[in-house]
C-alpha cells in the first residue's frame, strides 16, 4: 500500500501502440504521419493504461498529440459504440489562452478528419465535442456548454477554479477521466501552479473516478519533484496515512540537437555609440543571413528599443510593413495574435519578443533565435533556443549576443551547460496562504465543510503537504472575520465558521459572484504613463510607461532614461507622470531594474567554479589559459580571449573571487562616499537576502539608513558615514541559522514588501479587485493597500496576509535557503574571505557599482528622520 513510485518509463514499440488503436484512428494517423515520434513511443501506452505520467520533451516533439492520442482513441471507440455520455471526459489546462486556441484547432481538425474517414467507411459515429472555456468565453457559449457539455474541455487554471465553484457545470465534471496539464514548467515554480495543485485536488474530491493526470513539460529539472507536484498525495482512510501517488516520467529531452554559440559584437571599450552601431550591424547581418529570426530581449522596453534601432539604422530593410514585429505582454491581444499569424504564414523576417514567445504557441518555422542579453537560466535559454527549427529533428540554432563582460562570462557558461545538458533546478512554492484563502472560499461556496475534511483535501496537494492545521485555522479565522472584533465582523467576514462543530460555509448570496470575479493569482502590475508636458509641440504625447514604484522615487526635476531618451519629471497626476522631453542634463536617477530576471543559483555556482579554475591557471602563459577556456566552454577564440582579458585585469588589479573565496572590496569615491563591495556571485535572489540582512545589522549598529545596491554578481553597502560593516558581517555569519529572523524584520519597510503586500491582499480577497461591478485601478489598490497594511499590522502580526507576504518575499523573491547555505559555508571555512582595498572599483565590481538595483534599508524612524531634516534647515530659518 505504501509503495510509492516515481519511475522513469522506457519507450514502447510502434507495434504495441498500433495494436491498441482503433482502425479509423490508425488510418488517420498513418495518413498524416510516417511513424510515431519518440515522444509518442514513450507516452501513448502509459496513458492508454491509465497511468499518471509526466512527459518532458522539447517543443515540436509531438507532445500534445502524445497526450491526446490515447484519449481520442478511447473517445472514438465509445463514439462508434454510441456510448459517449454527456460529460467531460478530459480536461486540458494550459497557462496561456493563446495556446488554448491552438490546441482547439489542433484537436478539431483531426476529429473532423476522423469523422470523415468513418463516414467513408459507413461507420456511424457520435460527435466528439471540444470546447474552450476561459475568461474570453461568451456567456452564451457557456450556456451551450451547460446543456451539451464538451467531451474535451480546454481551459486555464483560473477558469478551472471557477467551474469548480459553479452551481451547475460542476455536475459535468464529476466523472472526468483524464486531466492534462500543459506547459507545467511555466506553472510549477509560481503561485499559478500552487493554485492549480489545489484545484486538481478539488476536482479529485468531487470525482467518482480518479482522473489520470498527464503533465507536459519542456526542459525542466528536477523532474521527480515536478512529477510529485503533478500528482500529489492520496489519503488512505484505513491507515490514515498519505501516500505519494504513482507517476511515470518520460524524459524525452535532448532528442533535439542544439547549435549554440556566443557572439561578441565589439570589444566593450569603444564609446557607447560605436558599440551600439556594431551591435546592430551584427544583428542585421544575422537576420539577413536567415529566413526568419526570433530575438529575445528580456524586457519590454528592450524589445521596443531593438525595433527602433533597426528601423533607424536600416530603414530600407525594416521600415517596410510586414518585415519586423514586436511581441510582448503589454501589447494588445489582437496585435499579438496578428504577429503569431504572420509568423505561421512565414511572412515576417524578424520578430522581437521580451519573454512572451517562450511558451509553446505555434509560430511556424524559425531558423535562428538571437538571445540579446543573458536569459539568466539554462532552462530558459534552452526553451528559447528550442523555438528555432520547430520540427523535431531540425537543429535549433541559437546565438547569444552579449552586451557587457559579465554577460559574456555568464552566457559562455550557460552555453557550456546547454551543451552538457545540465539544467538548473526550479523551486516549487509551498504553503502559500493567499492561494489557500481563495480555495477555502471557493469550497465554502460549494458546501458546508468540516475543517478536518478540508485539511485532508489540502494536504493531498504537493504544495501544501506540510501545511500545519493551525495555518489553515488561521486562514479560516481571517476569512470569517475573527481578526476584526465582534461588532465589525459582519462587514469583513466572507465565510462563517462555527467553533463548536468546526464547520465552515459561505455567508452571502453574492459569494459566488465575488469568487468568480476575483479568483486568480497573477498580480496586476501598475504602470504609470509617461506623458509629455513640455515642449508644447509634443504636448500630451505618450512616450511610454514606468513602474509605479519607480515613480515614487522621482522628485521634481529628476532626469531619467526611458526607451533610450531622457526626460525630466515635472509632476504626477493619477496614473500619469508629466515630463519635459527636451533635456540636456545627464540622468540624475538610475533606471529601474524590477523587470530583470534573476540569475539561477545553479548557474551562478557554475560561473563561480569557472572563475576558480581560471584563477588557478592565471600564472601560466596567456595562450595556455585561453586554450583551457576554449576547451572548457566549447567557445571561439574570440570569446576565450575576451574572457581571459577580463579575468586578467581583475587578477592584476584586484583579486578574482570564486566559489571558495569571497572578496570584499572597500573603496572610497572622490566625494568621500564609502563602498563595501561584496563579490557574492550567487544571483540576485541570494544577494537580495544577504545584502538586506547585512544592511539591517549595519543600520542598527549605526542608527542610520543604509544604501544598498544589488545585482546578480554581488552587492554593495554605501554611506558617507563610517559604518561597522565588518562587525555586522561577522555577526551575520556567526548567526547564519537565524538569517530568516533578521530578514523578517529587515524587509518590512522595503518597496518590494509593500508591493507584494498589495498582491497578497488582492489574492487573499482583502482587497477585492472587482466588486459590485466595478474594477479598481492598480494605483488605487496600492494606495489602499498601504493604508490597509498600517491598520492590519496594528491588529496582529499573525494576520495571514502579512505572514504570506513575508514568506513570499523571503522564499520566492529572495532565496533565503541558499543565502543560509552561503553563510554557513563561510562559517565553516569552506569559503574564505579576502578583504581588499582599491582606489577604483575593480573590473568585476564595475557593473555592481554602476548598474545595480538600488535600494535603501530603512531603520530610522520617520519622526527621527523628520527631526534630523529639521535640524538641517534650522540654521537657515534662524538667519532670517
Amino acid at each position: 500500500m505504501t509503495e510509492q513510485q516515481i519511475e522513469k518509463v522506457k519507450p514502447s514499440t510502434a507495434a504495441k501502440i498500433t495494436a491498441i488503436l482503433d482502425d479509423t484512428i490508425k488510418k488517420w494517423f498513418f495518413s498524416r504521419f510516417k511513424d510515431y515520434s519518440l515522444t509518442q513511443l514513450y507516452g501513448v501506452m502509459p496513458i492508454h493504461e491509465r497511468k499518471n505520467i509526466l512527459i518532458s520533451a522539447p517543443t515540436g516533439s509531438g507532445k500534445t498529440l502524445t497526450a491526446f492520442l490515447s484519449i481520442i482513441n478511447y473517445l472514438v471507440v465509445l463514439a462508434k459504440k454510441q456510448e459517449l455520455q454527456d460529460k467531460v471526459y478530459a480536461i486540458y489546462i494550459s497557462p496561456l489562452r493563446a495556446l488554448n486556441n491552438d490546441i482547439y484547432v489542433n484537436l478539431q481538425k483531426p476529429l473532423e478528419e476522423i469523422k470523415q474517414l468513418a463516414k467513408q467507411e459507413n461507420i456511424n459515429m457520435q460527435d466528439i465535442r471540444v470546447a474552450i472555456r476561459t475568461s474570453d468565453t461568451l456567456s452564451s457559449d457557456k450556456a451551450k456548454m451547460l446543456k451539451k457539455p464538451p467531451h474535451i474541455l480546454i481551459t486555464t487554471p483560473e477558469s478551472l477554479a471557477i467551474v469548480l465553484s459553479s452551481k451547475k457545470f460542476i455536475e459535468h465534471l464529476k466523472a472526468v477521466e483524464f486531466v492534462i496539464v500543459d506547459e507545467i514548467h511555466a506553472l510549477a515554480s509560481n503561485k499559478r501552479g500552487v493554485h492549480l495543485s489545489l484545484s486538481l485536488e478539488r476536482l479529485e474530491e468531487i470525482s467518482t473516478i480518479t482522473p489520470v493526470r498527464i503533465g507536459l513539460s519542456a526542459t525542466i529539472a528536477p523532474l521527480e519533484e515536478v512529477a510529485k507536484f503533478l500528482v500529489g498525495y492520496s489519503y488512505d482512510e484505513k491507515t490514515k496515512t498519505y501516500n505519494l501517488r504513482n507517476c511515470l516520467i518520460a524524459d524525452v529531452n535532448f532528442a533535439k540537437p542544439i547549435d549554440i554559440a556566443v557572439l561578441v559584437a565589439s570589444n566593450f571599450f569603444e564609446d557607447a555609440k560605436l558599440q551600439t552601431h556594431k551591435l546592430y550591424c551584427l544583428i542585421d547581418e544575422l537576420i539577413q543571413k536567415h529566413k526568419t529570426t526570433l530575438i529575445f530581449t528580456n524586457t519590454r522596453s528592450g524589445t521596443e528599443r531593438v525595433i527602433a534601432h533597426l528601423k533607424e539604422m536600416f530603414p530600407k530593410r525594416y521600415e517596410a510593413l510586414n518585415v519586423i514585429g514586436a511581441h510582448h505582454s503589454s501589447l494588445s491581444r489582437k496585435h499579438r495574435f496578428n504577429i503569431e499569424q504572420k509568423l505561421r504564414e512565414g511572412k515576417l523576417k524578424v520578430v522581437v519578443s521580451s519573454t512572451s514567445l517562450e511558451l509553446g504557441i505555434d509560430i511556424g518555422y524559425i531558423d535562428l533565435v538571437l538571445l540579446l542579453g543573458s536569459p539568466k537560466s539554462v532552462s530558459r535559454a534552452m526553451q528559447r533556443t528550442g523555438r528555432a527549427g520547430h520540427k523535431l529533428h531540425a537543429v535549433a540554432k541559437g546565438r547569444f549576443i552579449v552586451l557587457d563582460r559579465d554577460d559574456l562570462v555568464e552566457c559562455t557558461i550557460m552555453a557550456k551547460k546547454i551543451n552538457e545538458k545540465e539544467i538548473d533546478k526550479i523551486q516549487i512554492p509551498k504553503n502559500c496562504l493567499d492561494v489557500l484563502c481563495q480555495h477555502v472560499y471557493g469550497e465554502a461556496i460549494n458546501k458546508v465543510w468540516h475543517v478536518d475534511d478540508f485539511y485532508r483535501l489540502v494536504k493531498r496537494s504537493y504544495c501544501y503537504h506540510d501545511l500545519k492545521k493551525e495555518q489553515l485555522l488561521n486562514v479560516i479565522a481571517y476569512l470569517s472575520g475573527q481578526y476584526f472584533g465582534l461588532e465589525q465582523r459582519g462587514i469583513y467576514a466572507k465565510i462563517w465558521y462555527d467553533e463548536n462543530t468546526q464547520e465552515f460555509g459561505k455567508r452571502s448570496k453574492l459569494a459566488r459572484m465575488m469568487y468568480m470575479t476575483n479568483v486568480g493569482v497573477i498580480p496586476e502590475e501598475s504602470y504609470v504613463n509617461v506623458i509629455v508636458a513640455l515642449p508644447n509641440e509634443r504636448k500630451n504625447e505618450k512616450v511610454g510607461v514606468i513602474d509605479e514604484a519607480f515613480l515614487e522615487r522621482l522628485k521634481k526635476g529628476d532626469v531619467f532614461v526611458l526607451g533610450g531618451h531622457k526626460y525630466m519629471f515635472l509632476y504626477a497626476r493619477g496614473m500619469n507622470a508629466y515630463v519635459n522631453a527636451s533635456v540636456k542634463q545627464p540622468p540624475t536617477i538610475p533606471s529601474w531594474f524590477s523587470e530583470q530576471l534573476p540569475l539561477s543559483y545553479d548557474l551562478a555556482l557554475a560561473i563561480q567554479k569557472f572563475r576558480r579554475l581560471v584563477e588557478q591557471r592565471m600564472k601560466k602563459p596567456k595562450q595556455e589559459v585561453v586554450e583551457f577556456i576554449k576547451q572548457y566552454c566549447y567557445c571561439s577564440d574570440n570569446v576565450a580571449n575576451a574572457i581571459y582579458d577580463y579575468f586578467y585585469e581583475q587578477y592584476k588589479f584586484a583579486e578574482i573571487p570564486h566559489d571558495k573565496k569571497l572578496v570584499i572590496e572597500f573603496y572610497k569615491s572622490n566625494d568621500g562616499k564609502k563602498y563595501w563591495i561584496f563579490h557574492t556571485l550567487y544571483g540576485r535572489r541570494v544577494n537580495d537576502a544577504l545584502s538586506r540582512a547585512l544592511a539591517f545589522l549595519v543600520a542598527r549598529i549605526n542608527r542610520r539608513d543604509v544604501e544598498i545596491c544589488i545585482n546578480d554578481n554581488g552587492f554593495y553597502i554605501a554611506s558617507y558615514d563610517k559604518l561597522q560593516v565588518d562587525k555586522a558581517f561577522e555577526m551575520l555569519v556567526k548567526n547564519y541559522s537565524k538569517l530568516h529572523i533578521v530578514l523578517e524584520e529587515a524587509i518590512e519597510k522595503t518597496e518590494t514588501f509593500k508591493r507584494r503586500f498589495r498582491h497578497n491582499a488582492v489574492r487573499s480577497l482583502l482587497i477585492l479587485r472587482s466588486y459590485k461591478g466595478k474594477t479598481k485601478s492598480v494605483g488605487k489598490q496600492q494606495m489602499q493597500a498601504e493604508m490597509l497594511y498600517r491598520t492590519v499590522k496594528s491588529i496582529s502580526y499573525n494576520f495571514p496576509v502579512i505572514v504570506e507576504t513575508k514568506r513570499e518575499v523571503l522564499h520566492d523573491v529572495m532565496d533565503v535557503e541558499h543565502a543560509k547555505e552561503v553563510l554557513s559555508n563561510i562559517a565553516n571555512n569552506n569559503i574564505k574571505i579576502k578583504k581588499i582595498q582599491t582606489p577604483l572599483p575593480s573590473p568585476f565590481a564595475f557593473n555592481i557599482v554602476v548598474a545595480g538595483y538600488l535600494d535603501l534599508l530603512k531603520i530610522e524612524d520617520r519622526i527621527e528622520f523628520l527631526r534630523r531634516m529639521h535640524e538641517k534647515i534650522l540654521e537657515e530659518i534662524k538667519k532670517k
Binding site: 522628485k555 459590485k772 493604508m787
Partner: protein, 245 residues
C-alpha cells in the same frame, strides 16, 4: 501629539492639524471625511475602522485644552458617496455632539457635504459657504467667491487640498502632512492639512486641486510639517535649494 501652539501670525496659531484664533477663541478643523473607511469597504476593501476613534480622541484633547467659544469645521466633515449608513450617521452626530458640548459650531460647506443638511438641521447647526471673523475668511477652498476679493479681508483660510510633503535624503523618501502659508491676491493664505489619518497629496509632485493654488507659485509658501508636533520648515524654495524635497 504635542499640542503646543506655533504662532504664524498675530493671534493665529497652529496646533497640530487645527488652527486657533486666540483673540476670538475660535478653533478651526477641516476634512475629517467621516465614513472614508466605509467608503473603502463599499469598494470591496476589508479595512478595519479606526479613523473615527482616533479623530474623536484628538478632538477631545484639543477641546479640553483650548476651551473654544466657537468651532468652525472647514468642510468635508463627512466623506460622501451616496447613501449614508446608520453608523456613519452616528459617528457624524457623535463628533458634532462632542463639539456642541464645548462650544457653538459652524459648518463650512465642502465639496463632499451635499447631504449634510439633515444632520445640521437635527443639531440646529448653521451651514455656510464661508465664515468671516474680523478680517479673516474661513472657506473650504474648492471654489473662489467674489466676496473673498473684498479689501477688508486680509487673511483666507482654506482646506480641501490635504497638503503633504515628501522629504528626501538620497533615495530615502518620507511623506508628512503639512500646512502651507503664503499669499494670494495680496492676502495671507493659510492652507490647512486634513484632520483625518491619511497623509494627503504630495505638493511637490502632485497637481494641486484648489483653484486658490493653481495659479500661485508655491515656492514662496512657508511649510509647517505636522507629525508628533509642528515643525517649521521655512519656504519651499529654500527646501528645494537644500535638496531635501
Amino acid at each position: 501629539m504635542d499640542l503646543s501652539k506655533t504662532k504664524i501670525f498675530e493671534g493665529i496659531y497652529i496646533i497640530g492639524k487645527a488652527l486657533w484664533l486666540e483673540k476670538v477663541k475660535i478653533l478651526v478643523i477641516a476634512d475629517l471625511h467621516i465614513g472614508y473607511e466605509e467608503y473603502l469597504n463599499e469598494l470591496g476593501i476589508a479595512i478595519p475602522r479606526q479613523q473615527f476613534k482616533l479623530m474623536h480622541e484628538e478632538l477631545k484633547n484639543l477641546l479640553n485644552l483650548l476651551k473654544p467659544k466657537l468651532i468652525v469645521i472647514n468642510g468635508d466633515l463627512k466623506h460622501e458617496f451616496g447613501e449614508i449608513s446608520k453608523q456613519e450617521w452616528n459617528e457624524t452626530l457623535a463628533i458634532l455632539d462632542l463639539c456642541l458640548k464645548h462650544a457653538k459650531v459652524v459648518l463650512v460647506k465642502g465639496n463632499h457635504d451635499t447631504i449634510l443638511e439633515p444632520i445640521a438641521r437635527k443639531k440646529n447647526v448653521k451651514i455656510v459657504d464661508y465664515y468671516v471673523v474680523d478680517s479673516i475668511v474661513i472657506t473650504h477652498g474648492h471654489k473662489i467667491l467674489n466676496e473673498f476679493f473684498d479689501k477688508q479681508i486680509k487673511t483666507i483660510v482654506i482646506a480641501h487640498e490635504h497638503p503633504a510633503i515628501s522629504l528626501r535624503e538620497g533615495i530615502k523618501v518620507e511623506k508628512y502632512k503639512c500646512w502651507l502659508i503664503g499669499r494670494w491676491h495680496n492676502k495671507k493664505l493659510i492652507v490647512m492639512p486634513s484632520f483625518m489619518y491619511i497623509e494627503g497629496s504630495d505638493i511637490t509632485k502632485e497637481m494641486l486641486l484648489s483653484p486658490f493654488l493653481t495659479k500661485v507659485n508655491l515656492d514662496n509658501f512657508e511649510i509647517y510639517i505636522v507629525a508628533d508636533k509642528v515643525y517649521k520648515f521655512g519656504k519651499l524654495k529654500m527646501l528645494r535649494k537644500k535638496g531635501i524635497v
